[in-house]
């Protein structure tokens, strides 16, 4: 599976996970993905924001402009209550999927 396909499968889960603890802006989200994946997964601007807007449209995250003194305002995204349910569900699904894949690949090596 190409990097693009992996992204499509897991992108929603990644973003929802990253805004679970606290609201984050887009650039912060993209840097966290890159850093925590060790550079294996990257989301550039043209990929990230359409996904953010789609998640916002679904009501899973909510964006809000925040102004801080001496800084330009930024749009922060937070997880909504509906997004929390989706995140929990996707986590379970992802975990089950990975475990299934692991079982298959481990059997091949046994």
């Amino acid at each position: 599976m190409s990097e693009l396909e992996w992204k499509k499968v897991s992108a929603e889960l990644l973003i929802l996970s990253l805004v679970e603890a606290r609201p984050r802006h887009g650039y912060e989200i993209s840097k966290l993905i890159e850093q925590r994946s060790g550079g294996a997964v990257t989301f550039y601007v043209a990929s990230l924001y359409p996904l953010l807007y789609r998640l916002e449209k679904r009501g899973w995250i909510q964006g809000r402009w925040v102004e801080k003194s001496g800084q330009r305002r930024r749009r922060y995204y937070r997880l909504t209550s509906e997004g929390q349910k989706v995140l929990a569900s996707q986590r379970r699904g992802w975990k089950a999927f990975v475990e299934a894949v692991n079982r298959i690949t481990e059997a091949e090596h046994a």
Binding site: V45, A46, S47, Y53, R74
Partner: protein, 412 residues
């Protein structure tokens, strides 16, 4: 620091976003690119390399393209938050129109069907309402039509719609001079007119009208004037008034025909007035002033002249009271000409605008009649004469519905 807004806007242009929403996205993405640019500079890249790298990432639009619908839908249905301000309605309307046009382009067949359906629906609704409005809601152009009545000699054994409603000059004068229930009494009689002009001769539908007729209807002329008292005096210059429909059909609506002289039934008459479009009393093309005189006068085709009588109820007088009043007047005349009356009779005053049945049933009848306009039956009925003064024509329910329909069309 490069200005990314132009590059971003250019890439967003195809999405046709609402302007306020586009501003927000440009601002948000510009910040992201600024941060990315600074990061690259900090890592040792030259400004040119950093700018080129950022633009390349901006062009990494494979997923962006797949996500476009999400962006578009987001901006269509949801508040844009900060910056939306009052641009709202006009921008939203423009966006909706563009969206509709794009949908039409994608589905021209559906668009065509939708447009035709809407057009037919609106047209049909307008046509039906036009008929209902003219026939039921506002069928007569006359002033205070609810107080206009017409009398009928009704024999005791006759059906409710039967009886004589042509009255002699003596009866008409008796009504006019002796009644206590009416503010005005007028008569109308058929008077076919032979119109002679340079190209030949032709028949017109004419109607004689007694003094005060136009005043009873409360109808002024569209051009010129209606009849005046002086027009009825012996030796007064002959005049006539023309129907709007005839004016349009025969004179192409030329206002210069007013005050010109026309030869009608061999008499040179001056056209003094042209009536408004809705006025078509007695279905005549021309109206001629005529004063009724006592005694038996000869009218159309050498027959004794008969007048269709109209009266306007005085304030507070009922139709029943008017009937009794007029019956008393005619009883004395019946002794002089018993051959004109049944053995037992009364004068029944009928409201000019009376109708039978409920509004709903009438609506359905009219709607059904619209489909039967071309199939009038040959059945005698006096109803048309009652309602439209077409005493000279035999007709039936379908016929008067057709008259009503075309009256409404003519009014448009």
């Amino acid at each position: 620091m490069p200005d990314w807004s132009m590059e971003i806007s250019r890439r967003l242009s195809s999405l046709n976003l609402e302007s306020a929403r586009e501003v927000e996205i440009v601002e948000e993405l510009s910040q992201h690119l600024d941060d990315r640019y600074h990061e690259l500079i900090s890592s040792g890249a030259t400004e040119e390399d950093a700018r080129r790298a950022v633009l390349m990432e901006l062009n990494d639009g494979e997923i962006f393209a797949q996500e476009r619908p999400g962006v578009v839908h987001k901006t269509r249905g949801e508040p844009a938050g900060h910056g939306r301000g009052g641009q709202g309605f006009v921008a939203s309307l423009g966006q909706d129109l563009r969206y509709a046009l794009r949908q039409f382009q994608r589905n021209p067949g559906f668009a065509l069907v939708a447009i035709i359906t809407l057009g037919l629906g609106i047209g049909a609704s307008t046509a039906i309402f036009s008929v209902i409005d003219n026939v039921l809601l506002e069928p007569y152009p006359y002033k205070d039509v609810a107080h206009i009545i017409y009398p009928r000699v009704h024999g005791a054994t006759q059906g409710p719609d039967e009886g004589r409603q042509g009255f002699s000059s003596d009866e008409l004068l008796g009504f006019a001079q002796q009644n206590h229930s009416l503010d005005g009494v007028v008569g109308t009689a058929n008077d076919p007119v032979l119109y002679k002009h340079g190209a030949g001769v032709e028949w017109l539908y004419g109607a004689d009208m007694t003094p005060g007729s136009f005043e009873l209807f409360g109808m002024p002329a569209l051009y010129g004037r209606v009849f005046q008292a002086a027009d009825y005096k012996p030796g007064a210059p002959p005049v006539f008034v023309l129907r709007h429909k005839a004016w349009k059909a025969r004179f192409n609506g030329d206002p210069n025909v007013l005050n010109k002289v026309f030869v009608l039934n061999g008499t040179a008459r001056t056209l003094v007035g042209i009536m408004p479009p809705r006025f078509g009393w007695y279905d005549a093309d021309v109206w001629i002033p005529k004063t009724p005189h006592p005694g038996v006068s000869i009218g159309f085709a050498g027959l004794p002249e008969r007048w269709f009588v109209l009266g306007r109820l005085k304030h507070g007088v009922s139709v029943a009271q008017a009937s009794d009043d007029l019956t008393g007047i005619v009883k004395s005349l019946a002794k002089l000409r018993p051959q004109d009356y049944p053995a037992q009779f009364q004068i029944v005053a009928l409201p000019f605008d009376h109708s039978d049945g409920h509004l709903e049933s009438t609506l359905y009848t009219v709607l059904a009649a619209v489909g039967s306009l071309e199939q009038p039956r040959e059945k005698k009925s006096s109803r048309c004469a009652q309602c439209w003064g077409q005493a000279r024509r035999d007709c039936c329910g379908f016929c008067w519905l057709r008259v009503l329909y075309w009256q409404s069309v003519e009014r448009r």
